[in-house]
Structures are given as structure tokens and as C-alpha cells.
């Protein structure tokens, strides 16, 4: 009888599926730092990073610190005829909200604050217990959301937005970059690095072994 619920893989060889074309292949040996390419569509199957937990965790911790700085301090100040206006990430969202642009405000809130925050929190929550051999539960339930969240975290795009805004304002007033801008500029490569060095398959195997 068909039965709903989890079932076990029946083959002993590890199989890998191509995300692009769904070809199923036997997991090839890949040296540290190398990647496997699908023979059918040319998509990347996976990249192997043996020190994935240490490196990604270290980058996530620095990322979390920078994220706090980026959110607390103003990222730009604007001076015109002796008047000064400063802006933080949150004030951008609340200014849009104040003009009745609720949907746009929500979109900016999600893509520049909530999604990156969730991404960092998730990485810390999953990786710290593995690295320090803490007992913890829930890693599996949380880690599976990483891919979804990542699609909505757009800080690198926001940085380009800041550059464009700077140019538009430069002939109108004096613009002073704030501390948060530098934190931002550092946070983006650090978060990108954390995800490049993350070998999700190895983390899944660790989580499976623990829970």
C-alpha cells in the first residue's frame, strides 16, 4: 500500500541530482575546493569545501557584527544650506511608509533588513553547534530555509542603489558617507564569501549524524 511519510534511499552509492536538468549521477570524487559539473546541461552540481563549517561560521560572525553596525549608524548624511539630514536603513523604510508606499516599504524592509538578518541568524544557529559540538535540536528544520531566504536578500543591490543616489544628489548638496556605509561595503563580500564557502551537503551530513 502507498504510505505517506519519509522513506529511505535504497542505493548505497551517494547519488547527486543536477539542480538544472534533474539528471541523476553517482557522486564523483571532487578534491577540496573543486566543483562537479553536470555532464548533460553544464550546470554546477556541487562544490566541495572541506573546512566549510569553520570558514562559514567565522565569516557569519563577522557578518553579524557588521550587520549591527550597518543598521545602527547612519549610512549617508545630506547637507544643504546648513541643514543636515541623516539616514539609516530603517529611516528609509519608515519614510516610504510615511508617504503611503506601504508595499514598497515592505519590500525594502524584507530585502535589505529581514532577509539578511534571517540569513545570518540561520547560519549561526546551524553552524555554531556543529563547530563547538553543542547539543542542539532544530538544525535540520531551520537549515532547509536557507535557499529560500537567500533569494530575497539583496544587500549588494542596495549598495549599487546607494552609489546611484550619491551621483543624483552630488550636484544638489554635500553628501557625507557615514559609518554604516563602510560596514555595508564590508558586509557584502563577507556574506557572499560565507555562502561561497558553505558546502551545504557536508553540513546536511553533519546534521543528519547529530539528530
Amino acid at each position: 500500500m502507498p504510505r505517506d511519510g519519509p522513506f529511505e534511499p535504497r542505493i548505497q552509492v551517494r547519488l547527486v541530482g543536477c539542480h538544472e536538468c534533474d539528471a541523476v549521477v553517482e557522486e564523483p570524487f571532487v578534491p577540496d575546493g573543486g566543483s562537479a559539473i553536470c555532464g548533460r546541461c553544464g550546470g554546477t552540481l556541487f562544490r566541495r569545501q572541506r573546512q566549510t563549517v569553520e570558514i562559514t561560521l567565522a565569516l557569519s560572525i563577522s557578518g553579524a557584527i557588521l550587520f549591527v553596525v550597518a543598521n545602527v549608524y547612519p549610512f549617508l548624511a545630506f547637507e544643504l544650506q546648513g541643514q543636515v539630514a541623516q539616514t539609516t536603513l530603517r529611516s528609509g523604510v519608515s519614510a516610504l511608509w510615511g508617504q503611503g508606499q506601504y508595499a514598497v516599504a515592505g519590500l525594502v524592509l524584507v530585502t535589505t533588513i529581514l532577509a539578511p538578518a534571517c540569513q545570518l541568524a540561520l547560519l549561526l544557529f546551524v553552524l555554531a553547534p556543529i563547530q563547538f559540538k553543542w547539543r542542539s535540536r532544530g538544525g535540520i528544520r531551520v537549515f532547509r530555509w536557507l535557499g529560500r531566504i537567500r533569494a530575497w536578500s539583496m544587500m549588494e543591490v542596495f549598495l549599487i542603489g546607494i552609489l546611484v543616489a550619491l551621483v543624483k544628489l552630488s550636484d544638489m548638496a554635500d553628501i557625507v558617507p557615514g559609518l554604516a556605509l563602510w560596514a555595508f561595503a564590508l558586509l557584502i563580500p563577507i556574506l557572499a564569501g560565507a555562502l561561497v564557502f558553505l558546502d551545504a551537503e557536508l553540513v546536511w551530513r553533519e546534521l543528519e549524524a547529530v539528530e
Binding site: L15, G42, F78, V104, I160, G161, K168
Partner: protein
């Protein structure tokens, strides 16, 4: 290294969330199955992929017109009001000699959304027609659409930053306008459309033909 592909026709399914490849027992093909590693519901193909993608694309096309016709913001400077549409924003950067930035914004705000609408529609049509035409190129087109899609958010962020920064009453102020809402809607709808499209469908008609 390039992995060799296993013969088609074996009943495998890959978890969308954790990438585990499972062999599905013959008798359980039709039932709802959970991933044995992370518990997410396993689908061999994303459910209703083509209808969802087409519905989202249609909604995006409808929003595309007001997004480009209506101004995204109004800039007041010393009592003079000037409205900016997506296109006039790009022109402004070109006129001011900011070539690299103008190019980025031109690609992000005009080329990318248009390419996403046309590209995804073409992919859906090609699958409807069970096309055998260049699956590798079509798969690459999908990957490109998925990677560059987020960069369209630049203009939404520019509006956010300007609104937050420039609020000195009649001396200088910026107000977000209807176009920003519709442009944000186009970006979100096309991102969702790309997410609900299943690139594995490209390979299905080719596998059918091989058998």
C-alpha cells in the same frame, strides 16, 4: 570534473530544500512523500510549474506598462518639481557623464526586466510545444534570468534612499510615486515567476524522445 549521467527512466526525486536524491519505490509514486533527511515535501517536478509561471508573468506584463509610464519619484528642489520615470533616470545619468553607472542602471532597470519577461515567456512556450531545440542554451538562459533578476531592485533602492535623505521641505524633498509601486511589483512578480519555473521541464521532452 564532469559527472556522467545515469540512464533516464529510473524513479528518482530530489529534495528542493536539501538536495538529497531519493529513489522512489514503485508503489509510492502517487503519494505525498516527505524528504527522508529534512522532511520537506518532495516533488519530482515543481507542482503546476507552467501555469504558475504564466500567471505570474501575465501579472508582471500588466504592471510593466504603468511601471514605465508613471514617474517613480518627484524631486522638489528650490520650489521646482521634476518627475523621474525609470527611463528618464537613466538618461539623467548618461547626460551627467556617469557612463559606468548609467550602464548598470540601464541594464538593471530596462534590459533585465524586459529580458526576463521575454525570456521566461519563450521558455514556457518552448516547453508547451515540447521543443527539442538547444536544451543547453535554454537551460543557460534560465540560469541567467535567475541570477540577474535581483539587480532590477536598484531603482527601488534609489527611490528609498532619496526619500529618506532629502526631506527639507520646499528647499529639497523627494516623494515616491505610483511608478515605484508598479516597478517593485514587476520585480517581485518576475522573481516569483522565475522561482516557480522548473528548468527540468526543458529536459523532459528530450528524455521522452530518447526512449
Amino acid at each position: 570534473m564532469t559527472a556522467s549521467v545515469l540512464p533516464a527512466g529510473m524513479a528518482h526525486a530530489q529534495c528542493h530544500a536539501c538536495s538529497l536524491v531519493m529513489t522512489i519505490p514503485e508503489e509510492a509514486r502517487e503519494s505525498r512523500l516527505g524528504c527522508s533527511r529534512c522532511g520537506t515535501v518532495v516533488h519530482r517536478r515543481k507542482p503546476n510549474s507552467l501555469s504558475r509561471t504564466m500567471a505570474l508573468l501575465l501579472a508582471a506584463v500588466i504592471c510593466y506598462v504603468p511601471a514605465n509610464v508613471y514617474p517613480i519619484m518627484a524631486i522638489t528642489s528650490f520650489g521646482k518639481v521634476q518627475s523621474d520615470t525609470i527611463f528618464s533616470g537613466v538618461i539623467y545619468l548618461f547626460v551627467h557623464g556617469m557612463w559606468p553607472l548609467a550602464l548598470i542602471v540601464f541594464v538593471a532597470s530596462i534590459i533585465v526586466p524586459t529580458m526576463k519577461l521575454i525570456g521566461l515567456t519563450a521558455l514556457v512556450i518552448s516547453i508547451r510545444r515540447r521543443s527539442q531545440w538547444r536544451p543547453q542554451e535554454r537551460a543557460r538562459l534560465y540560469r541567467t534570468i535567475e541570477t540577474v533578476g535581483r539587480w532590477s531592485m536598484v531603482d527601488v533602492y534609489v527611490v528609498t534612499i532619496l526619500v529618506a535623505l532629502v526631506h527639507l521641505g520646499s528647499i529639497a524633498s523627494v516623494e515616491a510615486q505610483t511608478g515605484a509601486f508598479f516597478f517593485g511589483a514587476v520585480v517581485v512578480l518576475t522573481l516569483l515567476a522565475a522561482q516557480s519555473f522548473d528548468p527540468r521541464l526543458i529536459w523532459d521532452s528530450i528524455e521522452d524522445n530518447d526512449e
